[in-house]
Symmetry: C2
Subunit: 154 residues, 2 copies
């Protein structure tokens, strides 16, 4: 039997495993399931959504603890959506830099990537704006509000 090529999800999982190992944090079953689920998602998930999406039941308190551990290990990044709910996604060193598309009708949040050239333009703009106000820019976040196709079809 031939050796299988790594799927992107596999590569993510291996990278996470390495990172956790080097931080002396165990890669338990629940943690692995969370990483896998987020790797398969199209955008950041709220704790409740993740709770639904997991292949096996995990109490919310445990899930939150898992998320906290993975966030501290910089495996996950946490944001808050327009309703103030925490949303979790794989950190950008695992997925690449990207932005979010938010459907104002159903609340879905979806990843979008920008070409490196455009991203560079944005970064330059952002740095300029920041320094003009006495800030040193370290990053940026762009949320595009809109309506998804499904909601428009309703």
């Amino acid at each position: 039997m031939a050796i299988m090529a790594d799927s992107p999800a596999d590569r993510v999982e291996q990278a996470v495993a390495a990172r956790l190992r080097s931080h002396d944090v165990r890669f338990t079953t629940t943690r692995r399931l969370v990483v896998r689920t987020l790797a398969g998602a199209r955008g950041p998930l709220a704790a409740g959504e993740l709770h639904q999406a997991l292949p096996r039941a995990v109490p919310l308190s445990s899930l939150y603890r898992t998320l906290a551990v993975l966030e501290e290990s910089l495996v996950l990044a946490k944001q808050h959506d327009d309703l103030g709910m925490g949303r979790y996604e794989l950190a950008e060193w695992l997925t690449g830099h990207h932005h979010h598309l938010v459907c104002e009708s159903c609340g879905e949040v979806r990843d979008v990537t920008v070409s490196p050239e455009t991203e560079q333009t944005i970064t330059a703009l952002v740095s300029r704006l920041a320094s003009r106000a006495g800030y040193r820019a370290t990053g940026h976040r762009i949320d595009i509000q809109g309506t998804c196709r499904a909601c428009r079809a309703l």
Copy 2:
């Protein structure tokens, strides 16, 4: 005594008064104080900050109700910061379109405006990205993360 020229804050207050009138919503003292305070702020304020900043004590529950009324009347816009706390600011039809600078050290959020030309470039980019994913863009939000001068001096 000569008639005083309207200050920007006055103009905002008059515009708000007109809007509330046409929506049959009273412009009470507390509501006026909230609008004035937000008009004088450098960025969106959390309910707690607003509570501190108001010239006279207003119970938090009343403050939240005031904020809800003003938000429904589209006088205020509400966002959530990185910690998930609600932050309120005057709606963009009163202040103009702008973005936010967020100090990752002290949490301060400050308004920044972008030149119309740049803003137009951003809008075009955003529309393109959205439609590529089947979305129709209706707006965008840019948060610039960084460190403010005060925090850098520490």
